[in-house]
């Protein structure tokens, strides 16, 4: 006889509640729907296969860790792909080979408007602006901010999920909010 500590329905309910936010998080990070969906699906599969027998209250933290790792794996694969592209292309300058996409990602997102699908409604415009500003954040700041405020994780849980100290989480969150506040304020937006 087989039985899980947490039932299949519990896992399904948890994933149903987390999948949309996870997709958005992945979208903020990779800005590509298909890649974001792949990342979320991969994270769901890993959680179910490896930790499906855990207690349900352990899943949020585990899922966040898995999701962030999946996003980092995507960055690493992108870096390898771009490295090969550079090696085989004489047109591309080679002085930025050692740059980490995690560090440089936030500087080149200005031209991407794919995260603002609903431009007609003012509310949707506002959401689009917020999402774009979040996409502009450096990855670690964005991770900390989203886990801390959107996933409703406390500082210790966020630190555990990010693999850093609680002080770093506070710093990342503070800088993220400062940046978001300034950016939204510059656009005349008040929440």
């Amino acid at each position: 006889m087989e039985r899980a500590l947490s039932s299949r329905l519990d896992l399904s309910n948890f994933l149903a509640g987390a999948e949309r936010r996870a997709f958005k998080q992945a979208m903020f990070a990779v800005r590509n729907e298909d890649s974001a969906l792949d990342i979320v699906q991969d994270a769901m599969m890993r959680l179910a296969e490896k930790y499906g027998d855990r207690e349900a209250n352990e899943w949020p933290l585990l899922f966040q860790r898995i999701l962030q790792n999946a996003i980092r794996d995507f960055y690493r694969r992108s870096k390898v792909r771009s490295l090969w592209t550079v090696l085989f292309s004489s047109l591309t300058p080679t002085d930025d080979d050692d740059e980490d996409p995690l560090e440089t990602l936030a500087t080149d997102v200005g031209s991407d408007d794919s995260t603002t699908p609903h431009r007609n409604a003012e509310r949707m415009q506002l959401l689009g602006i917020i999402e774009k500003e979040i996409s502009r954040l450096p990855p670690r700041q964005r991770e900390a901010f989203l886990m801390r405020y959107w996933e409703d994780m406390d500082v210790a849980e966020t630190a555990a999920a990010m693999g850093c100290s609680q002080g770093s989480v506070k710093t990342h969150c503070s800088r993220a909010i400062q940046a978001l506040g300034k950016a939204l304020s510059a656009k005349g937006i008040r929440l």
């Binding site: 087989e2 994933l15 936010r21 959401l127 400062q178 929440l191």
Partner: protein, 143 residues
């Protein structure tokens, strides 16, 4: 209504963070239908591959004289049961090794006895390599 300042207090930062998060939640609820369906399919696929825990259970219940006992179950796969199933194989291997050792010892003893006989005899062992002596032995045996 919140205004933005370059030096926000912790409490105000939390309020602003939560306000932004609330907007994000609103946005997440308005995902395109195709995305929602693909997420749902991914979720169902993941749930189908959920890891489960195997629990030990009793395979039978013996009842009688007002008492009941649980027997068997997955305990049949315990380490002792596995060791028990390996026991005949171990006995077989030990038996074959014993037979091989005994036979080897017996062969060594036979060779040693022959050597002893040869060395203890008055006739030197080198004589058995002499063709003339072998011919003498054969003719003598026939007679």
């Amino acid at each position: 209504m919140k205004t933005f300042d370059s030096t926000l207090s912790d409490g105000f930062q939390d309020q602003l963070g939560l306000a932004i998060a609330a907007r994000l939640s609103e946005s997440a609820q308005n995902l395109p239908n195709d995305i929602s369906e693909r997420l749902k399919a991914a979720r169902m696929q993941a749930v189908a591959k959920r890891k489960v825990v195997k629990l030990q259970s009793a395979s039978s219940v013996n009842a009688g004289m007002g008492t009941a006992t649980l027997t068997g179950g997955d305990l049949g796969n315990s380490i002792w049961t596995r060791l028990g199933s390996l026991l005949p194989l171990l006995v077989l291997i030990a038996g074959l090794l014993t037979i091989a050792i005994v036979q080897e010892q017996r062969r060594v003893d036979e060779l040693a006895a022959v050597d002893t006989e040869l060395l203890a005899d008055d006739l030197p062992p080198a004589a058995y390599t002499d063709p003339g002596f072998l011919h003498f032995l054969n003719t003598t045996r026939r007679e």
